[in-house]
């Protein structure tokens, strides 16, 4: 058991740190200042470009597509050093972290050549177009429909939701139903969608805080060429699983990345002499603090597994459950100690209080995560599935009937 870098890792870290030291003045601030969002985004794109040129983006991408061909430990080293330097990381975490690897795994040579370079340098930012209003936990239940025309092109209609960055993305990776007459996992296909195509409409979706952290995206007779298909017609579910695996990996390594930590929740209590001596406050702080510290070491364990070639399983999803619940306990505690002033909309605490309920469902509800872990990790028998083997069109009809 060793928490320290090997000599090679230490050398890599030193190089990363040196580069960041030299270039930190070129970095934009982490959060947009009041005012011009376009200018801010441009600065973040430029910064990602510099990181990519320095080899600090796409760390785990293969060399032949412009990556560094390194491992997860190096990726985490880069994350840690970027965080320590107090500069922002890459802008397009979703593209580089999840969608790029999907194209690398399933895309055609042409797709790789066309899309990966601009993605890595943030010349083109990407968004993930999987979730739909009617298909939440049941991702395969999507209804967006792409119909094949006689000329080999596709016509897309439907709606996506919870789409981060859609309002400035150049492309989206989209899952659509191409055959409703087979069981639901079988009739799906993955597409690359230009976000400026005619018929694409993006609308901000405001969260509890009032900020539009996500978007809804509407598709109205959007025409897609035959070469927009990624991974083959009807193979959309398998292609999407690759994205989801990388999503889990990003979350598994990023438990501290959400900005919640034992230290953050300790600060306001340490500043309050009465609260810091109150047994109930201390119990709550001790419990949530221990949870956050556990998460740090769960991250190290995940990394150890990755470094020895294992892929983290659904159990790393449990880290998300712990993160959300400990953060809720933390904000509850802080607001109890500080009182109504913590609920001022401009307070970091009010922001967190508003943000956490949505985070609970993001990336899979806690209920679905527990199901998955119970079945895949503990080997417990699955729920009876009423939708197995039934054509999607028939399923929908049944649903309408049941709620009528």
């Amino acid at each position: 058991m060793d928490l320290n870098d090997t000599p090679e890792q230490a050398e890599y870290r030193a190089r990363v740190r040196a580069w960041l030291e030299e270039h930190r003045d070129e970095a934009p601030p982490d959060r947009p200042p009041d005012g011009d969002e376009d200018a801010y985004l441009a600065a973040r794109r430029a910064w990602q470009g510099k990181l990519a040129e320095a080899g600090l983006a796409g760390v785990v991408w293969p060399k032949e597509v412009g990556g560094q061909g390194l491992g997860p430990i190096e990726q985490v080293t880069v994350n840690q050093e970027i965080s320590a330097a107090g500069v922002p990381g890459i802008l397009d975490v979703i593209g580089v972290g999840m969608l790029g690897p999907t194209i690398i795994a399933h895309g055609s040579d042409e797709q790789k050549a066309r899309y990966l370079g601009p993605m890595l340098h943030a010349d083109e930012v990407w968004c993930q177009l999987f979730s739909e209003p009617a298909a939440g936990s049941d991702l395969a239940g999507i209804q967006s429909r792409a119909k094949l025309g006689e000329d080999g092109s596709w016509t897309l209609n439907g709606q996506k939701v919870w789409t981060t960055n859609a309002h400035f993305a150049s492309y989206g990776l989209l899952l659509a139903r191409t055959d409703p007459d087979v069981p639901k996992h079988k009739g799906l296909t993955m597409f690359v969608v230009p976000m400026d195509a005619p018929g694409v409409t993006v609308r901000g979706l405001r969260q509890i805080s009032g900020e539009a952290e996500f978007n809804e995206v509407f598709f109205d007779d959007v025409r897609l060429d035959a070469d927009a298909v990624v991974g083959g017609v009807g193979n959309g579910w398998g292609t999407a699983l690759t994205t989801l695996m990388y999503e889990r990996l990003t979350i598994g390594l990023g438990s501290e990345g959400l900005g919640y930590s034992a230290e953050r929740f300790t600060q306001p209590i340490a500043a309050d002499p009465e609260a810091r001596g109150n047994a109930e406050v201390r119990k709550r702080l001790g419990e949530l603090g221990a949870d956050f510290i556990a998460l740090r070491f769960t991250g190290y364990r995940t990394l150890t597994a990755l470094a020895s070639g294992q892929i983290p399983g659904p159990e790393s999803a449990l880290a998300k459950v712990t993160t959300v619940n400990a953060a809720v306990a933390g904000t509850d505690l802080i607001a109890d100690v500080i009182g109504p002033e913590a609920l001022d909309e401009s307070s970091e605490w009010a922001y967190a209080i508003s943000f956490l309920p949505g985070l609970k469902s993001a990336g899979g509800t806690e209920e679905i995560l527990r199901n998955t872990v119970g079945e895949r990790v503990l080997g417990l028998p699955p729920e009876p599935r009423l939708d197995k083997g039934i054509p999607f069109s028939e399923l929908r009809a049944k649903e309408r009937e049941a709620t009528a």
Partner: protein, 353 residues
């Protein structure tokens, strides 16, 4: 032994629900977060006779009991109505007890009152405490500004409970209106310059006013829990995933039943608080604190579970669920806090042991 509502109480409740249904209070709660003015529901309250609910008949009131006022608060809570009764009712009750000259105008609602309350002595703390800068009662009274006073903005008459439980009437105090997270809740920082008129009530009366506020807040919370449960149950019946309504899954079903369990416990304690407010003054501190404690926990759970049963959509601006969540977050930290009420339950039990 009979805990059923009287016909009059059923009527009072139905009338309240009917009157409130003529206003778009929930969407007003959302608009108010963006700066829109809240609809003024005071005329409706005046017409319904709520301002004088707890004032004697000979002074123009309805001479009803705390439980009746709680029934009205449940209805207000159901629709997040911004009716300033939480501040007014205990104030009006104290003014009536103290035989204050102007009570008729307060009972009729012509003038609106608000209480600047203080927490009565407990088993550990022999002094009166009040809200300083936090929503908690832990600093001895005597500061110049009372923070987070519910319904203070716009009140014509403030009834101030001071150190040692002495009560005075203040007209024309400086009130800085503030809003925090739940825009339906009027809050004010009240600057007291000591120029009040003493009100002739006992320290026991001042204490009862505090506990009355706890009971009213508990009732209001129960109403909000009812709505959250109804919303979540409805959605759980309609929303399908993996070929089944989500309410058929135990994970969802059992959470909704947990909300029901907390709701039923809260309702039971409303009866206790109502009974104590009318017939068992010695038990009022325990009864009202227990009601506040359990209803506060229920509100917290119900508003969070309502959002999570709805999934992502439940955490969006356009949805009603977050408005109830905002209500819960602020209520939990007002008038001594849910935690303070729980502590008082323990204190009362320990003092009686």
């Amino acid at each position: 032994m009979n805990l059923s509502l009287s016909d009059e109480q059923e009527l009072l409740r139905e009338a309240a629900r009917g009157a409130l249904s003529r206003h778009e209070t929930v969407s007003a709660a959302r608009d108010a977060l963006e700066g829109a003015a809240l609809p003024d529901l005071w005329p409706m309250a005046v017409e319904a006779g709520w301002p004088g609910l707890l004032v004697g008949e000979e002074r123009g009131g309805a001479a009803l009991a705390p439980f009746d006022a709680m029934l009205v608060m449940v209805e207000c809570g159901r629709v997040l109505a911004g009716v300033p009764l939480l501040g007014h009712l205990p104030a009006a009750w104290l003014l009536d007890r103290g035989g204050w000259d102007g009570v008729e105008a307060v009972a009729s609602g012509e003038r609106r009152a608000a209480i600047v309350p203080a927490q009565p002595p407990g088993d550990l703390d022999p002094g009166w405490t009040w809200d300083p800068e936090r929503g908690k009662a832990r600093v001895p009274a005597g500061g110049e500004t009372a923070h987070w006073v519910v319904d203070a903005p716009g009140a014509d008459v403030l009834v101030v409970v001071g150190a040692d439980g002495a009560v005075s009437v203040v007209e024309g105090a400086t009130v800085q209106a503030v809003t925090r997270y739940d825009a339906t809740r009027g809050l004010g920082h009240v600057t007291l310059d000591g120029a009040g008129t003493p009100l002739d009530v006992s320290a026991q009366d001042a204490a009862s006013a505090w506990y009355l506020a706890q009971a009213l807040l508990a009732a209001e919370s129960v109403g909000a829990v009812e709505t959250c449960l109804e919303m979540a149950v409805q959605y759980a019946k309609e929303r399908f995933t993996f070929g089944r309504a989500i309410g058929s899954y135990q994970a969802v079903k059992h959470q909704l039943v947990e909300v029901l369990r907390l709701l039923e416990n809260s309702r039971s304690l409303l009866y206790y608080a109502g009974w104590a407010g009318e017939s068992g003054p010695d038990e009022l501190p325990l009864a009202a604190s227990a009601a506040r404690s359990v209803a506060g926990r229920a509100l917290d759970a119900a508003t969070r579970i309502n959002i999570s049963v709805h999934g992502g959509i439940g955490a969006t601006w356009e949805h009603d669920a977050p408005l109830f969540f905002r209500r819960a977050q602020l209520s939990r930290r007002l008038v001594g806090g849910t935690g303070g009420a729980t502590d008082r339950v323990a204190g009362e039990l320990l003092a009686a042991a």
